[in-house]
Symmetry: C2
Subunit: 152 residues, 2 copies
Amino acid sequence: MADYKYFEDFVVGQKRVSGTLTVSAAEIMEFATKYDPQPMHTDPEAAAAITGGLIASGWHTASLTMRLLIAGTDYQPAPGALGLGFEHLRWPKPVRPGDSLQLTVEVIALRPSESRPDRGIITNRFLTVNQHGETVQEMVSSAIIPRRETKG
Amino acid sequence: MADYKYFEDFVVGQKRVSGTLTVSAAEIMEFATKYDPQPMHTDPEAAAAITGGLIASGWHTASLTMRLLIAGTDYQPAPGALGLGFEHLRWPKPVRPGDSLQLTVEVIALRPSESRPDRGIITNRFLTVNQHGETVQEMVSSAIIPRRETKG
């Protein structure tokens, strides 16, 4: 049985750190060709002049962050958990070929749902850093998450 | 020469509507296998029980929205334009196989930069809808954009 996480399993200040993941130039260009076809993401020569070399699409960075969350942490929300969307998505530094990314998820708020006693709201900060410790993505997200005790 | 867009080329309330783009089950599963490997995105049978069938990763929806912006509108920001990040990213309805997506970009605010007379700040709402007119993604984003007149 999966070791699901419920509202009661989280504490404000708690941090989970993912494994790492290295990004190649080929993957940066492949993603961008499909989803963000701009020269700084798809053409190393043009990118050299624009951004000092190829940089990943911000949406690629976001997608890689999701992969770190799913595959690189013990992320296992209980059935019924539901993302409410994201706030303050930022890409302070670009991701470049060869960069190694790591995600830290920090619980920054927890509150019981006012309308549903069997649920709570969790707010997390997602911080993605490169091998130099520089932040390449930051975002804040809230989700509805089931409570373990639902009697009553 | 590219027909670049400068601060002066935008007006609050102005809307640009993209072409459309249809999403296949194969693409939903391919994206999710790489970036968001959860059964509702990768396994049609498991997804039938969880979400009434396969649904796209929200990050796939975001990436497809970027593609609609770049390839489906006359998006051509002047050199020097720089995204400041996103606020209020929401996925009110999931994207399903066969859905046809369209993006509307609406200018909701424009203001000159206080520190840099050669720049302005533009705030856009990005609304992605399916073929039923249902919103599958909404977000608000601000960007720095060069002004056409930079003398002085």
